[in-house]
């Protein structure tokens, strides 16, 4: 309606600045249409400027709200008319957002939050000997006095005692600590006091809040009374605060109690008894590196002074507590974060693609609307509003999925990820995800809208004739190629990780773990079992009782078993130089029979290998080969440096050679020797194999223990399934998580390929009709469509394979004996993507074969 001639000068009527300002709050089209009229009216009507301005602002706001509601309801109606599109788009967003919610929560809880201690940033672990790592009490005492970089230094060692006199005796897991430990963590008591220097070697105890509430009914008068642990009375001096968390290199934990470590005890005074973790606060301004150098200097001096106890010492190391705890999972979590980000990109590409395909189908609607006067801006806004609705629905669903996913993963997560207890979906995570959603909806809405703007002009020119527009087509094909490439990358990563997990859990362990259980032997009070003979006799009766439990096939006593840790012992061969770090174990004669470890040479232990008989040992093949270079070592001698009170290090004669066993899925077969239990005078566990009918097993074992001595607490029973799950936890979790993400990506890629193929078929209806009319066979049409799909899939596959080849090396911490370029995995994944492409394109292809020649004419 623009006048093509000169306007009279007074037609551009001046307006009061206040009105101009008020008008600026109104929607643009209103402003453009009526500014002039309002100006003229104001001149002739002499209204109150303030009243008019206020009215304009109110009307402007009203119109904007009205407009937004109209856009929203229009978007809802449009989406309701395309349910397939809407459902696929919402699900795509929901899956991607669900993944992001879950992974971001884990990332935040584990990697981004500081440890729950006041000076967490200065908290460090002091590794007395890198690799083995723990302090002996005397080394720690010297270290504390000589170091210069630490403000506070404390020791903690694991400790486990039987609490009696409070109902059925129960085993509690606590810690032996020195007075520095609480100072390092800056822990405080809720009642009484914590341990201090005066407690060293005393029979005092601090209870954890839970222990206090469970066994002492939360009574504050408990301070000053005694608790009976292992038959001895300990004076309760305090109760720790409820949130008190103990720290260990494996993670944070909640101990049941703390007792002072006992330097007057005979074992603790040996420099070889390295049982304490050193934790410290750095002095302000001191770097971890400087502290490490200082620790190295001090410990080197200690080692120099006492060479006998530090034969294999390598170096000391100080590391940040945070890095130590989260280090093992840091890379995996960032990789997961990368994976879910890629997933979100795939989902977005998918939605943009679906939107473009739908926009092309809606082209005439949009062209008509624009011809009817809807501005391009309005159409763009409409598309963004539609996307916003999808993003909102997908986001809400996704956050729900994230919650559910985390809960589903709780059991495994708690086992394999340190600090898991701090993982939750909190406001920060929701805010982050909301930001992602906003960005997603603007991007995915704007891209089609922008191409729409360009196309509208062409669309009008083409007067609604069907036919694809090259720019949008390139964008669509490009997006699917990108989607396929990213999916291939993700699926390949998942494939490699799953393959690693398979390889890992199928390594030869050297023993038969089916229906195998470890059952703890209780610590026996000196009052009832004064010496080792009495204790060993009780253990023998326990083994007999376990054997008599229905379903138990066999049982034997031992000190330790594979997958439950082990003892590293410096060992020498008499007459040869060199100290060897080998594993050591002490076992009953039946141990190898129960574990099904084959005897390779010589004989197994017998009951005659007692404390007064010849000192003997058995070794595994790895030890025989590594120390002697042959398996024929029966009759030869080793000297294990076992330092224990009552057995001085002595030369032992090898009587047998057994097969190697692994102490963990990812560990090598290490050299190991075995001693007769009675010659080392040690006890630890009973190993039992059942026939697989394990219902009520724990209760039956408990009864068997009580039949030997009612004062024995219910033993801890752990199956090898559990031990395996713990050992392979990180790999299992990685395999599960990455496969889940890969499957989601694959589904999204399928939808993307389907959309583009379906659209191509629709666009070529006429062509197919004509081809059918001139005698083309169904098979040729079908093949043509599939071939087209495979052509762009091929581009995606090549790109994706290159991408994967470049990126999979970053997976190394999650791979086990699997090359990042494993050809089997790559081949499999490529085949999978090809199969998916064919599958996704098959429905449109079949539709193409059903096109009747006549329909091609009708279609136009």
């Amino acid at each position: 309606m623009r006048a093509g001639c000169f306007r009279p000068a007074h037609s551009m009527t001046a307006m009061h600045p206040l009105l101009r300002l008020a008008l600026a709050t109104c929607p643009r089209d209103y402003r453009r249409e009526y500014e002039q009229s309002i100006a003229i009216d104001m001149r002739v009507r002499h209204e109150n400027v303030f009243a008019v301005a206020l009215d304009l602002i109110c009307q402007g706001f009203g119109m904007r709200v009205e407009g937004a509601l109209r856009d929203l309801s229009f978007a809802l109606r449009t989406l309701a008319k395309a349910p397939m599109y809407t459902v696929v788009a919402v699900l795509a967003i929901a899956l991607a957002i669900g993944g992001n919610v879950a992974v971001t929560s884990v990332l935040e809880g584990v990697l981004l939050k500081p440890l729950p201690y006041p000076n967490a940033d200065r908290l460090v672990h002091v590794d007395a000997d890198a690799g083995i790592g723990q302090f002996s009490y005397l080394d720690a005492r010297d270290f504390r006095a000589e170091q210069t970089t630490l403000e506070r230094f404390g020791l903690i060692g694991s400790d486990s005692r039987v609490l009696s006199g409070k109902g059925r005796p129960v085993t509690l897991n606590g810690s032996a600590v020195d007075e520095g430990y609480f100072a390092v963590l800056e822990a405080h008591p809720q009642i009484g006091r914590l341990l201090n220097g005066a407690d060293r070697g005393a029979k005092t105890i601090v209870l954890a809040d839970k222990t206090w509430r469970t066994y002492f009914s939360g009574d504050p008068r408990v301070i000053g009374t005694t608790a009976t642990l292992n038959g001895m009375n300990y004076t309760i001096v305090g109760v720790a605060k409820p949130g008190m968390r103990d720290i260990s290199p494996q993670g944070l934990s909640s101990n049941a109690y703390w007792v002072p470590l006992n330097p007057r005890g005979s074992v603790e005074t040996q420099r070889g008894y390295t049982n304490y973790d050193g934790w410290a606060l750095l002095r302000r301004g001191v770097s971890v590196r400087a502290a490490s150098a200082d620790a190295q200097r001090v410990l080197a001096a200690i080692v120099h002074r006492y060479p006998a106890n530090h034969g294999t010492w390598t170096r000391a190391q100080v590391s940040s507590a945070f890095d130590l705890l989260v280090g093992p999972v840091r890379q995996m979590l960032w990789l997961l974060y990368a994976a879910v980000t890629v997933l979100l990109v795939i989902a977005c590409a998918n939605i943009v693609n679906l939107t473009l395909v739908r926009a092309a189908a809606r082209e005439r609607e949009l062209v008509v609307r624009s011809a009817l006067g809807a501005s391009r801006g309005r159409i763009a806004v409409q598309l963004i509003v539609e996307m916003g609705v999808i993003a909102l629905a997908g986001g809400v669903l996704g956050i729900g999925l994230g919650f559910a996913g985390l809960r589903l993963f709780d059991a495994i997560g708690a086992q394999m990820i340190p600090r898991w207890e701090g993982v939750r979906v909190d406001g920060g995570v929701i805010a982050y995800v909301a930001l992602l959603l906003a960005a997603t909806s603007v991007l995915t809405g704007a891209i089609p809208a922008l191409t729409q703007r360009r196309e509208l002009v062409q669309g009008l020119r083409a007067a609604g004739r069907s036919g694809d527009l090259s720019g949008a087509k390139r964008l669509r094909t490009g997006l699917v190629i990108a989607e396929i490439a990213l999916t291939l990358g993700l699926v390949t990563s998942a494939g490699l990780i799953v393959r690693s997990f398979e390889t890992l859990t199928h390594v030869n362990l050297g023993f038969d773990a089916r229906h195998l259980y470890t059952i703890e032997i209780p610590s026996m009070p000196k009052s009832a079992y004064p010496n080792y003979d009495a204790q060993f006799d009780a253990a023998r009766r326990l083994v007999a009782a376990v054997r008599s439990v229905p379903g138990v096939q066999d049982a034997a006593a031992t000190t330790i078993v594979p997958f439950k840790g082990g003892f590293v012992v410096n060992t020498t061969v008499p007459g040869k130089s060199g100290i060897h770090e080998v594993d050591g174990n002490a076992v009953a004669p039946e141990y190898f029979r129960v574990m099904r470890v084959p005897l390779v040479r010589g004989r197994s232990f017998t009951p005659r290998d007692g404390p007064h008989a010849q000192s003997v040992a058995m070794v595994n093949e790895a030890l025989a080969r590594q120390l002697f270079g042959t398996l024929d070592v029966v009759g030869r001698h080793i000297r294990p440096g076992v330092s224990s009170d009552n057995t001085p290090s002595m030369v032992r004669t090898i009587v047998g050679v057994v097969g190697n066993t692994r102490n963990g899925f990812s560990q090598a077969m290490r050299p190991e020797f075995y001693l007769p239990l009675t010659q080392l005078q040690a006890l630890g566990l009973i190993i039992a194999r059942t026939d697989g009918h394990d219902a009520g097993f724990a209760r039956a074992i408990d009864r068997a223990y009580a039949s030997v001595d009612p004062s024995f607490p219910a033993p801890e029973i752990v199956s090898y399934d559990t031990l395996f799950a713990q050992d392979a936890g990180r790999w299992r979790a990685a395999a599960m998580l990455f496969s889940t993400l890969a499957v989601i990506a694959l589904i999204l890629a399928l939808a993307g390929i389907y959309a583009v193929s379906a659209y191509a078929v629709q666009q070529r209806t006429q062509e197919f009709g004509i081809r059918k009319a001139i005698g083309a066979r169904d098979r040729a049409v079908l093949g043509g469509v599939l071939l087209d799909a495979l052509r762009f899939a091929a581009a995606g596959i090549v790109l994706g394979a290159l991408l994967a080849a470049m990126c999979t090396r970053y997976l190394n911490s999650l791979l086990f004996e699997t090359s990042p370029l494993d050809p089997v995995t790559f081949t499999f994944v490529v085949a999978l993507i090809v199969a998916c492409t064919v599958l996704a394109a098959l429905i449109p292809a079949l539709r193409a074969t059903r096109i009747q020649p006549a329909s091609a004419l009708r279609y136009e």
């Binding site: 006048a3 306007r7 009526y34 009229s37 009216d41 009215d55 402007g60 009203g62």
Partner: protein, 116 residues
């Protein structure tokens, strides 16, 4: 443009201001200020339409096809004039009839003097 022949009662009842705008246009084309003046005069100054609200009504009515606008020159320059469409007139008639029946009901209940 083809318009669906809807029943005008589907948009009733009208807001008072909207009805006054239609009434003002019933006896001929008017521009915005003239509509406002007419409404104010007809209601003894009780209903005052400020420009913001007035043009919001006019815009919506134009979009809905109740009125059409055209430009014409007058003493104050080129300005927009509004005219009732047949559809707009039917709506105004329907609203008037509705109000008439309301008034008759009020009379029957003796809320108004008969035949005043």
């Amino acid at each position: 443009m083809l318009r669906e022949r809807r029943d005008p009662s589907s948009v009733l009842p009208l807001g008072a201001s909207a009805f006054y705008v239609l009434l003002a246009l019933a006896d001929g084309d008017r521009h915005g200020a003239s509509i406002a003046e007419e409404v104010e005069a007809a209601t003894d100054g009780i209903t005052r339409l400020l420009p913001g609200a007035l043009y919001r009504y006019l815009k919506q009515m134009t979009l809905d096809g109740w009125i059409v606008e055209h430009e014409a020159q007058d003493d104050d320059g080129r300005r927009k004039y509004y005219r009732l469409t047949p559809w707009g007139r039917r709506i105004a008639q329907a609203e008037a009839q509705r109000l008439d029946s309301v008034v008759r009901m009020a009379r029957a209940r003796r809320l108004l003097p008969a035949g005043a």
